[in-house]
């Protein structure tokens, strides 16, 4: 059964149909990429899934449960984590604190206990710390542990954001342009992280991406969007040679 399903999901901003009756399934353990020209509605789909936007119509289903109307702050608790296109870390906190915020949806201590920092809170904090250290070790971020995010280079911040999402211990990970702003080498590294996340951690990934080499490297299936509509879906190779996709990217008429 599919881990995640979108059924005829649409959203309209005024007269613009940003996403128009899009349906797709994501299977357990795959990397599913969404490609398309600028303004095709890729990030809007992510914002719909993380419930920053509300769908005008259609259904979103995760593990057999509909969550089309679930409030945004509950999404992490369901096991859906995301990163952002233009890095949304907490710049005035250390890397460690950023990753610990990723553990927020797992915290079960009461407010009164926190006021006194009771032993239960201390125990929970140490447990969170261990989980965070696992992620730090996984992504090789040890030497930046106590650095302020504002002082880290862009490429490292991208990895930190990935790490923060992993601290949620998600079942489904949404990556919004993981390679944007990275150089060729860093992009390759990002590709290896994504493969490791899929193979070693068994996390299902939905990725929005422009870099076709990265898409080819990691994706099991690809969906192409244009003007909010699905124009092609299938293996990376099939989608890239699909005439509609070529037309969307290069413009002009294609001899069919």
């Amino acid at each position: 059964m599919s881990l995640f399903q979108a059924r005829d999901i649409s959203v309209r901003f005024g007269g613009i149909r940003a996403v128009d009756a899009v349906s797709f399934d994501v299977h357990q353990g795959e990397v599913f990429s969404i490609i398309g020209p600028n303004g095709a509605g890729k990030t809007t789909i992510f914002n719909l899934i993380s419930r920053i936007y509300s769908a005008t119509s259609g259904k979103l289903i995760f593990e057999g449960e509909e969550f089309t109307r679930t409030p945004a702050w509950r999404i992490a608790g369901l096991g859906i984590a995301r990163t952002f296109q233009n890095i949304e870390l907490f710049p005035n906190a250390t890397l460690l604190q950023n990753l610990l915020i990723g553990r927020h949806c797992h915290s079960r201590v009461g407010f009164i206990a926190e006021l006194g920092f009771l032993p239960s809170v201390r125990k929970a904090e140490l447990h969170h710390r261990e989980k965070v250290e696992d992620v730090i070790a996984f992504l090789g971020l040890e030497r930046y542990r106590d650095s302020l995010i504002a002082n880290l280079p862009y490429g490292v911040r991208k990895v930190v954001e990935l790490g923060r999402a992993l601290c949620i211990e998600p079942k489904l990970l949404l990556l919004d342009e993981p390679s944007s702003g990275l150089n060729v080498e860093e992009t390759e590294g990002m590709g290896f992280w994504i493969e490791d996340i899929k193979k070693d951690l068994g996390i299902t990934v939905i990725m929005v991406e422009h870099d076709m080499s990265l898409v080819n490297q990691v994706s099991d299936r690809v969906m192409a969007l244009n003007y909010g509509k699905v124009i092609a879906m299938g293996t990376p190779r099939a989608v890239q040679s699909h005439p509609e996709v070529v037309k969307a990217y290069l413009g002009g008429e294609v001899d069919a």
Partner: protein
């Protein structure tokens, strides 16, 4: 220079980082405990006022410095705490009960203002809280049956375990105890999930939300905690001024609280205390030098508020880290002596992402 070699995760969540911290804070505790034996009544009274303002400063720091929400209505919370405490005392309720009730009731009022302003930020929130402040001020004036209106009323003498704490020394010690408690609670919160959630909201609401942080709950909570601490300060303030009248809780007082937070240094509990010292001691300093200033500047009306305003502007422009930032830089300079990094002392142009930028 001290390099910490950390071998356990416990070390990262400890209140004291190393024995040096323990030593200096123990020394500070000893000094403030013994101060009444050395200093005169007037100075102890003023120090007590510094503590009271520091309590409110810590409360406002949690809201402005850590959650990134502004409030220009904290004088109202101070007033609510003061009146709650004084009115209950007049009814014969013991001080050890009225003090926490003043805090809790003010926290409720804070939640009540936090809830409807959830979607506001920046200037709009400033205006909303300003309006709240003036509404509460009007209530103090008009609700004569309880507050005595413009005439005000004398605050009854508080008793702790049968001892009257009428004099400056009594208020000094009670304020000190409450300040230590408030600082401890704030530090505990900041190293718990709640504190991290507040910082997350300050730095990026959208990603805080996608990390599973319930924005409405935590913003309301931040307002409640902040107001509650200010309410405690208010209860003590009532005993410091001894006579409650509504004009004590005007907008200028709210601006003084904001000055505490900004001049002290956003995002630092130490800054809240340093800021409170600045705000309470500047008027005393002006009083001392008033007569020796040239051109009759000392006799100009409004000298004090304009100096507050000037300092606020200068600090925001040239020293965004506030007094706490200056302290950290000075400490670093001595630790690294004779080496120094030019960059540390260059004019800082990156700011904590908070209300002033939106």
């Amino acid at each position: 220079m001290r390099h910490l070699f950390r071998t356990r995760y416990q070390q990262d969540i400890a209140l004291w980082r190393h024995n040096g911290d323990r030593f200096w804070y123990a020394l500070l505790a000893l000094i403030v405990l013994l101060a009444p034996a050395v200093l005169g009544e007037f100075y102890i009274g003023e120090l007590g006022a510094v503590f009271i303002f520091a309590i409110a400063g810590v409360g406002l720091m949690l809201l402005v410095g850590y959650t990134g929400l502004i409030s220009l209505g904290h004088a109202a919370f101070l007033g609510i705490g003061a009146y709650t405490n004084a009115v209950l005392l007049a009814q014969g309720v013991p001080f050890l009960v009225t003090l926490p009730i003043a805090g809790l009731f003010t926290a409720l009022c804070g939640a009540a203002i936090g809830r409807p302003t959830l979607r506001m930020s920046g200037l709009y929130l400033a205006i909303a809280t300003l309006a709240f402040g003036s509404i509460v001020g009007t209530v103090f004036q008009k609700w004569t049956a309880v507050t005595g209106g413009f005439d005000g009323f004398a605050v009854p003498t508080p008793y702790v375990f049968g001892m009257s704490i009428e004099g400056a020394t009594g208020i000094y010690y009670v304020s000190l105890a409450v300040l230590v408690l408030v600082l401890l609670v704030a530090a505990n919160l900041l190293r718990s999930p709640t504190g991290r959630a507040l910082v997350a909201i300050r730095d990026s609401e959208v990603s805080a939300q996608s990390m599973g942080i319930h924005l409405a709950r935590y913003k309301t909570l931040a307002f409640a905690i902040s107001a509650g601490m200010t309410g405690l300060a208010g209860a003590l303030f009532a005993h410091y001024v001894r006579y409650l009248a509504p004009d004590a809780f005007d907008v200028l007082l709210s601006v003084q609280f904001v000055t505490i937070v900004f001049v002290g240094g956003l995002g630092s509990l130490r800054g809240a205390v340093l800021g409170a010292m600045f705000v309470r001691l500047l008027p005393q300093f002006i009083a001392v030098v008033r007569d020796s200033l040239p051109f009759g500047i000392g006799r100009l009306p409004g000298l004090e508020p304009s100096l507050f305003g000037l300092t606020l502007v200068l600090v925001i422009l040239f020293q965004p880290g506030g007094l706490n930032g200056m302290w950290l830089k000075t400490k670093q300079w001595f630790q690294a002596f004779p080496f120094k990094r030019q960059a540390s002392f260059r004019r800082q142009k990156s700011y904590a992402r908070s209300e002033r930028l939106r």
